[in-house]
């Protein structure tokens, strides 16, 4: 029984041309994660389309429009399990007009896989994908140098691409980057080690995914407990019970800890921690628990329980790296709802400091239009303080979304600088 196995979430960005769908198909096929009726279905489709073999890329086909156009539009989630780990793939499109979908898929990932066609080396799209991985602070990057079969499995080609990628990575905030030469089509270095590239000493992709250290990906230092809802059971034995329900965003919470409630500033001690009917001595991120306090304090959704000696910043003025997600551009000085953990306030974009040209990754100043897929650094003012950390230190308390109250749509996602 796979008892202590962890869950790893990774994102794949790329277009059909990079062999992304083939790579995912190969990963699922060679790890025996594909069922016979699924295989039968794509064998039939491959035959209908007049292909010679089975087109593994068909596994990742989604909605009707996507099948017709042969592209990925939205984020699709796929699952497989090996004896070592459970995996969730956020499969995202690669083209520039779907930047927002890549950002969405990247937001919860432990690992970003970036595909490079060995024939073309590092191209504009590679830079953009690396930039998004860095912006969303994905802890690990695996660079898959694919289609090695089309460059005679050449070590020189591989080395040249590694060098090119390292040059762009040196300008980004990325820490852990690994390179794997592969042929997804033939299966080299995806699940099984390649016999065509004896010069490559590293592990194949699946082994890398199974062993990469992710236990430290969540911040376990700064204790942040955003209150989702208050449990007040109206039943015997629990008349005065007030349990604060939430999911630890980061850090560890122990019985007896001295805590401060933000934004009110009241202090108390943790009396009990519960997960269903189990009493716990401690809880850590990302556990969903409920806690009780020694003192009777007015606490509601949107408040945050933190350790008294380690508090987030309470601020009404935040600087944010903002990705615009909506068809309608940002309206200057318009008010939006801002969502941060369980807290909802009203916000206004005060200033666009600079914007990225997402083709060249150059910073543009003096252009304050925010359109779909634009990534920019902005100043935001909120009506009441948010309890924030920087996104680099805390992905949960460092992230926000903006909602347009006239349409109720989620229009932007931001990372607090």
């Amino acid at each position: 029984m796979i008892d202590n196995n962890q869950l790893l979430r990774f994102t794949t960005a790329g277009s059909v041309d990079d062999g992304k769908s083939t790579l995912i198909g190969r990963l699922l096929y060679d790890s025996k994660s594909i069922f016979e009726d699924q295989l039968q279905s794509i064998e039939n489709t491959s035959k209908k389309k007049g292909y010679d073999g089975v087109d593994l890329a068909l596994f990742t086909d989604g909605l009707r429009d996507e099948r017709e156009q042969g592209i990925t539009i939205d984020v699709a989630y796929r699952y497989f399990t090996t004896p070592k780990r459970k995996f969730i793939i956020a499969d995202t499109p690669g083209h520039i007009q779907y930047t927002r979908n890549m950002v969405t898929g990247a937001s919860t990932a432990n690992v970003a896989t970036i595909l490079i066609d060995a024939r073309h080396g590092v191209i504009e799209q590679t830079k953009r994908h690396a930039f998004i991985a860095s912006l969303l602070h994905i802890p690990h990057i695996i660079v898959c140098i694919n289609k090695m079969d089309l460059v005679d499995f050449s070590e020189d080609v591989y080395n040249k691409i590694v060098k090119e990628f390292e040059e762009i990575a040196s300008k980004l905030l990325v820490t852990d980057v690994r390179f794997i030469p592969m042929s997804a089509l033939l299966g080299d270095n995806v699940v099984n080690r390649s016999e065509n590239m004896p010069w490559y000493q590293g592990a194949p992709m699946l082994h890398t995914l199974e062993t990469i250290h992710i236990g430290s990906d969540i911040n376990k230092i700064d204790t942040r407990f955003p209150v989702q809802t208050v449990l007040r059971p109206q039943r015997e034995g629990y008349i005065d019970y007030r349990g604060y329900a939430g999911r630890l965003a980061s850090g560890i919470l122990r019985k007896g800890d001295e805590v401060t409630i933000m934004p009110s500033g009241f202090t108390s001690k943790i009396k009990g921690i519960n997960l269903h009917d189990k009493e716990l001595d401690e809880a850590y991120a990302p556990m969903s628990v409920s806690v009780t306090l020694e003192d009777d304090i007015d606490i509601s959704r949107g408040d945050m329980i933190v350790r008294s000696n380690n508090k987030p910043e309470a601020s009404q003025d935040i600087e944010v790296m903002l990705c615009w997600l909506n068809n309608s551009p940002a309206k200057p000085r318009a008010k939006y709802s801002i969502r941060h953990t369980s807290n909802v306030q009203t916000a206004m974009i005060k200033e666009v400091i600079y914007k990225y040209d997402i083709t060249t990754l150059d910073r543009i100043t003096g252009d304050s239009e925010l359109e779909m897929n634009d990534i920019s650094k902005v100043k935001i003012r909120t009506t009441k303080p948010l309890m924030v950390d920087s996104y680099r230190e805390n992905r949960t308390t460092g992230s926000i979304i903006l909602v347009d109250d006239s349409t109720n749509e989620t229009v932007a996602a931001g990372m607090i600088v």
């Binding site: 869950l7 099948r67 939205d74 984020v75 059971p233 019970y241």
Partner: protein, 301 residues
């Protein structure tokens, strides 16, 4: 020294509890869609955990096609009693009687598609603003694109090309009057995860999931249970087999597999060795490449 990371089942549980609490906090009048199948039972179990020591603070809703396994209805009534929550029933038979929908004709006629109208009527009549479902992304390719919080317009329809982006764990359940949401707390679970968790938590499930002897008929590579609704073809014959069901839908369309798995331990081992997807025996999904996508667009579960 204790470890400070969760195993995958604990992480999935924590995520589902978070989503359930988010639904409760963001909506006025949510319900759990309860079919009596393992996924909705799991969902109910997670809701019990999420709000303990309080009761589950919203009703369960069952869309009753009238073509049930009797065991499922018994199970439903028992669980309602145990939890002390309200049950809302939307009846497909009533929808037919009122002329809202017409029964399908022909040999493979089912009431599957009719459920959508009954579901949407029940949502409207009970002013439900969020229906929590046990849908999982691994079930089917249209479901793979589903959000945790999934918007439905005032006709109850899903627009897969115009879904709200969902980043981190920031869920946006804002909606206008008349619109509603579907929420899917166990989106990230696979069939295997569900069984491993049911076994770990020792959750009670209907006896139909365990291997048992039953009158069945061979039809399209599966064993269809004999029932008052079944119309036999000339060449068909009722036989007794030891079977179990991998999923539970209407008694008219849910096929069973021959099996010896009569305990949770044996089921987990059997599922791990399965070579076909669990919906492979559901004739409702076999109709076309985009059968599920089309039904979901109209407001299906």
């Amino acid at each position: 020294m204790s470890k400070y990371y969760l195993n995958y089942l604990d992480e999935l549980e924590s995520e589902a509890i978070f989503v359930l609490r988010e639904v409760w906090a963001q909506f006025e009048n949510p319900v759990i869609l309860f079919s009596g199948g393992k996924d909705s039972i799991l969902l109910t179990h997670l809701a019990k955990k999420a709000f303990y020591p309080a009761k589950i603070p919203f009703p369960l809703m069952h869309v009753d096609t009238g073509h049930n396994f009797p065991e499922t209805i018994q199970f439903r009534d028992d669980i309602i009693k145990e939890l002390g929550v309200q049950l809302i029933v939307g009846s497909v038979q009533e929808s037919i009687d009122e002329g809202r929908v017409a029964e399908e004709r022909g040999k493979s006629a089912t009431r599957n598609a009719l459920q959508t109208t009954t579901l949407l009527d029940a949502i409207e009549a009970n002013k439900i603003d969020c229906a929590i479902g046990g849908g999982r992304r691994d079930e089917e390719k249209a479901r793979a694109k589903e959000r945790f919080f999934s918007h439905r317009d005032d006709f109850g329809q899903w627009d897969p090309k115009n879904q709200r982006p969902e980043l981190w764990n920031l869920f946006n359940g804002k909606h206008f009057q008349g619109e509603h949401f579907r929420a899917f707390p166990i989106s990230n679970w696979t069939e295997m995860d569900v069984w491993n968790y049911i076994k770990r938590e020792n959750i009670a499930i209907p006896s139909l999931y365990f291997a048992h002897e039953r009158e069945v008929v061979r039809r399209e590579d599966t064993w269809i249970p004999n029932s008052e609704f079944l119309i036999l073809e000339d060449h068909e014959e009722v036989v007794i087999k030891k079977i179990r069901f991998r999923t539970l839908g209407d008694i008219t369309i849910t096929g069973g597999d021959e099996s010896e798995a009569d305990t949770l331990e044996k089921i987990v081992i059997e599922v791990a060795g399965m070579r076909n997807t669990e919906r492979g025996n559901r004739s409702d999904d076999k109709r076309s490449e985009s059968a599920m996508e089309d039904r979901k667009r109209q407001g299906y579960f």
